[in-house]
């Protein structure tokens, strides 16, 4: 059940949890696999389609049985889709229709409506408009066939031609056999959550990387029980508590009263005045912690409510901030909003702690609205933009609103006297900011307006704390919150461009956890991870997936191969921050409040929504390859010349694969096992052949090098680096 190489305390906790909940069976988890939608075919390779000028069902009978009709720009037409058993909460926005033209440009056509062809047949009629809704390219030209494809729950349909202006002009590649019919390596034992591909995928989404032990555990207890267990798991691990450092004076030389340049001085500065210990703690928890899901969600939230070590001076400051994130990762979003607003690191980073009625600073007011809660534009519940006159998006608020919130957030100060952690000579970054009413702007305020707005108007002369709660309630009840927060977390855990239906289901869980409570993060996380668009052994939609951010790439590889110290006698020291840093993601040192990358980043030259590609460029692409080389081939040694407590380094273990290699010198067993472990058995035959060819020239007896070569080739591949 637990690895003999785990630190003892961690292993004991794992064991205790196992005792308490380990014998629950997994009946509650349904088959996670959604079928692939089928786009009905008229004549060979052509979509069955009809103009939508009649009612849907009437038009269906007149559908273009020959399939050779051509359609024109902006025309509304009907397409027919089968094999998509919709659940009650699924509607038109569960589907997406993509089209590719002769220039290989990709467009997406809006779906205006959906209807069932008849009660008996499981065929749905999609009414679409032949008008690109992404807006990256100019509208497609009616100069020949488009290749169209429908996706649903991350599953792609067959591809068919559709005449646009005229037919022809497109080289048509017959669709390949989908990968979902491969044998995914089930054993005969059908007890538990036996979907081996989906188990790995689930763990990639919910943790910092699958391990053998976790895979076994999820197999045994199923997803729902595992989630329940995670919601209650102690955090951080007993073996890896939050570092607890005293608050230091702002001047380093005062806080570290040693001669500059001496080992004592350097170690003191590193410990207290950089985020070095926070990063190392973070990676140790990611490597070994039991409360993986809380750690993962807190990490995602740290990329929403961003602060940065570029401004936040001391490790103790960042730790107090991180405690707020982890405390509310499974709490209520409203509580997160309040504790983060009063968190001193945030108050410093976005200037609220210095904003007073006579010298107001609008930084926090602007960013809490724009970045942390409601965003710039009014959203539908499925995350799509509401539009007003002329199709323009509708701003959520104005500069005037920002001015009014700025007044709300005045007068909150560091608690340097009289709070539990108040320290002479240091600013109190541990206890929440406290109101100094005489510095608070007590004029009346007008806040966010929305249907049934809560606390839109705040009366004059209220106490600042009362007003803060009223104002946060005004934000919290804005209808944008569910889709805004839901989409963000889906992007961080599951996929970069979720379907509107997926966002809508998660937003619904945010709006109401089933017991009438809004903002329950457990309900949100559960909805994200158990959604049919998240679940399944294989996702075939070409628009599904996300680039593994550098932190995830690093932790996934180390966790998959039982990371320990360089000499493999003890746990890793967690000093691996420099790997993601070189790949463009310096943990806890984001460049700006906009995080390492923005949620709306589009890959240049494509129409692909892909936040993590914001830090994927020629330079970081090579670094991703290089860091994979380091992780695959090299132990990260402790520094022999260090004059402070020496880190013990990190290394992976591939002994089980070496064993496989010696049993099967062809390399097939090694590649199979790596395919199962890293790619949930989706490796193409061509890729597999490439790897075997690269292993061939290596000396027969050098199983270690063969295995690591295969590992490098998979870990450095885009096929692996895209989590999907």
């Amino acid at each position: 059940m637990f690895s003999r190489k785990c630190p003892r305390a961690v292993a004991l906790i794992a064991f205790a949890v196992f005792i308490s909940t380990g014998f629950v069976f997994a009946q509650s988890d349904p088959n996670p696999n959604s079928p692939s939608p089928v786009l009905l075919e008229g004549e060979t390779n052509r979509a069955l389609a009809a103009p939508a000028d009649k009612s849907m069902k009437a038009a269906a009978s007149k559908a273009n049985r020959g399939g050779s009709d051509v359609f024109s720009p902006d025309q509304e037409i009907l397409l027919y889709v089968a094999e998509t058993p919709l659940s009650v909460d699924e509607d038109a926005n569960a589907f997406r229709v993509y089209a590719r033209d002769a220039n290989n440009r990709i467009y997406r056509f809006p779906i205006l409506g959906i209807d069932k062809l008849s009660q008996d047949e499981q065929v749905y009629v999609l009414r679409i408009k032949l008008h690109d809704e992404i807006g990256f390219w100019p509208q497609p030209q009616p100069t020949g066939d488009l290749l169209i494809q429908v996706s649903w729950r991350g599953m792609a349909s067959n591809q068919l031609l559709l005449g646009f202006g005229k037919t022809g002009g497109l080289k048509f590649d017959p669709p390949k056999k989908a990968a979902d019919e491969k044998n995914l390596g089930d054993s005969d034992d059908y007890v538990g959550y036996r979907w081996s591909g989906d188990r790995k995928r689930f763990l990639e989404q919910a943790t910092f990387g699958p391990t053998k032990d976790l895979d076994q555990r999820v197999r045994r207890i199923g997803l729902r029980v595992w989630l329940a267990e995670q919601f209650n798991a102690p955090y951080p691990s007993a073996a890896n508590p939050y570092p607890d450092y005293v608050l230091k004076p702002a001047q380093q030389d005062v806080g570290c009263p040693f001669q500059r340049g001496t080992p004592e001085y350097i170690e003191c500065v590193r410990t207290y005045y950089t985020q070095y210990p926070v990063m190392n703690w973070f990676f140790k928890e990611a490597f070994y912690g039991d409360a993986q899901l809380r750690h993962r969600v807190a990490w995602a939230l740290s990329q929403l409510w961003v602060t940065s070590g570029q401004t936040i001076q001391q490790s103790s400051h960042m730790i107090a901030y991180h405690k707020v994130l982890s405390a509310h990762a499974f709490g209520n979003y409203r509580d997160l909003m309040k504790d983060m607003t009063l968190n001193p690191a945030m108050g410093d980073y976005l200037d609220m702690a210095r904003s007073t009625k006579n010298t107001p600073n609008e930084n926090y007011a602007r960013e809490i609205l724009q970045l942390f809660t409601v965003g710039l534009f009014m959203l539908n519940q499925d995350g799509t933009l509401q539009t007003g006159n002329g199709g323009a998006p509708i701003p959520t608020y104005s500069q005037d609103t920002v001015n009014n919130f700025t007044k709300v957030f005045t007068g909150f100060r560091f608690c340097n006297v009289g709070c539990p952690n108040s320290t002479d000579g240091a600013v109190n970054f541990k206890d929440p900011l406290v109101l100094q009413q005489n510095l608070h702007d007590v004029t009346a305020k007008t806040l966010l307006d929305y249907p049934n707005a809560v606390n839109k108007n705040i009366a004059a002369n209220l106490n600042g704390n009362t007003e803060l709660d009223l104002a946060l309630d005004n934000i919290f009840n804005h209808p944008n919150l569910g889709p805004f927060v839901g989409r963000f977390l889906i992007q961080h855990l599951v996929t970069s461009d979720p379907s509107p239906a997926y966002v809508s289901r998660v937003a619904a869980a945010f709006n109401n956890n089933g017991a009438g409570i809004r903002g329950d993060m457990k309900a949100v996380v559960k909805a994200i991870l158990l959604d049919p668009e998240a679940r399944g052994d294989v996702k075939t939609d070409p628009f599904y997936g996300k680039l593994r951010e550098p932190v995830q790439l690093t932790t996934n590889i180390y966790r998959q191969f039982d990371v320990l110290s360089a000499d493999r006698t003890q746990p890793s020291d967690g000093v691996v921050f420099w790997l993601p840093q070189l790949m463009g993601q310096f943990p806890f040192y984001a460049n700006t409040v906009f995080n390492y990358y923005t949620p709306n980043y589009i890959v240049p030259g494509t129409s692909l929504l892909a936040p993590e590609f914001g830090i994927m460029n020629t330079g970081t692409a090579i670094q991703r390859t290089n860091m994979t080389t380091i992780m695959s081939f090299v132990n990260i040694d402790p520094d022999p010349g260090a004059t402070w407590p020496t880190p013990v380094g990190s290394s992976i273990d591939v002994n089980d694969l070496i064993q496989l290699s010696s049993e099967d010198p062809t390399g097939n067993s090694v590649v199979d096992e790596l395919d199962r472990r890293l790619m949930h058995s989706t490796m193409s035959p061509e890729m597999r052949q490439s790897i075997l060819t690269a292993m061939a020239p290596i000396a027969q007896f050098d199983h270690n090098f063969k295995v690591r070569t295969a590992l490098f080739l998979i870990a450095s591949s885009s096929q692996y680096q895209i989590q999907r």
Partner: protein
Amino acid sequence: MKESRRDFVKKAGCALGMAGLATQFVHFGRMSVLAQRSRDAAKKQGSLGTTGYKAIVCVFLGGGNDGNNTLVPLHTDSGISNYNDYAAARSAAGLALAQGSLLPISVPAMGNLSYGMHPAFGQQTNGNAGIHPLWATGKLAWVTNVGTLVSPMTKAQYQNNSIAKPSQLFSHLDQVNQYQAGRSDTFSFSGWGGRLSDDMNQSSNPGGLIPMVTSIDGAALFTAGQTTQPMAIDDSSTPLNEVLNPIGFGNDSWSQARLAAFNQIRSLDLNNNYVNAASNVTEAAMQANEALSTFQEVTVGFPNTGIGRQLKQVARLIKKQADLNVERQVFYTERGGFDTHNGQLNAQNNNLAQVSQAVRAFYDEMVVQGRESEVTVFMMTDFGRTMNPAGSGGNVGSDHGWGNHMFVLGGAVNGGDFYGVDTSNGTPFPNLTIDGPDDATSNAANARGRWIPTTGVEQYAATIARWFGLPEADIPLVFPNIGAFSTSNLGFMG
């Protein structure tokens, strides 16, 4: 403050066992054979001459530089905003710069009145020269009151909403997007540097071995075209021949087999669009790596700052221009930290000093390379900042504003003057009165001194792009909203 990893490591004193890593890599060597081969092939094709080479270098001041402390009236002429007006707005809170500290420039467009550049533009105590002296030699110009606009607008039009405003004024992300896109009439997925490449790369750089656009600061909308992608590389702390070089591949047979597989796998399984996009980026990197296998070091010493190292890397690439077979290049560099809501006096001084010294070193290097008239450096930033300070005393700063001043520098610049469309006072420099005719905001409580720009970003950009060689007929393609403005040539380029 943004630090490179090396800085961090140095400061933090953590050695990470890199020495150990290095020794384990001894047997790997580099992928030099392929690179050498391709370079030889390129040489055989014959290198192009350097006649007609041109490059533009964007220095982006991330966060929104406070233009009100960057260019300050030094004169006391009562007919126009003068030093006393400036001091009245800013000194009580402690944000006004002392009159005697400002670096004087005489401005023909302002009737030869005296203005002051921020003291950070002068020679610094570390001995490094700044860009202020280049004003007198005619190599430095300021384009004043630039900003995002859908079309020119007056205060009345701003207040009665009779003309469309740029979306989300005063918001970082949106205003950066619009500056870098070179348009504010709609959201843009591409930047004007990238669109220059879309338009000109094939005709100007046939057979170019690297993309037309290079970023030394990661992804920036400015560098993204609709059909072309930029190269992005690290700063000069990594030598040019290592900046895109994958480690661990030697000449031994198993390394070559591994490299072959690595290259082949990148061409497979492209059905998923994310896999395809990631493989495309890696492919571009591997191609560029072959072109960058050798380089010559620059002559001038650059300051060892982030922006210094970035501009040094640009200078290395320009020195290698003939090898790379490119006649037109666009570069992007960035110095962050200008979002000075607090602590502005120190922060802006340090930041501008770093920018000034780095740009000066770059200019001096271009002189050494004989390219000072072929390379133009220009500044952009998020927006201006409020004239009315935020906070006071040691923490004083300023909030997000609008119109701002941009420097342009190089041998081809008609330097020593202000350029731009006239403001309410009939000159290119705005009236500095809070709630005055150039302040977008009004009514005493909310007026903060956010200048309504008179010069659109696209006018500023199009003037540079025309000099760069963008055909007149293509100006509306790269700057689709240029028609909303009176002119696409502000006259600051020769």
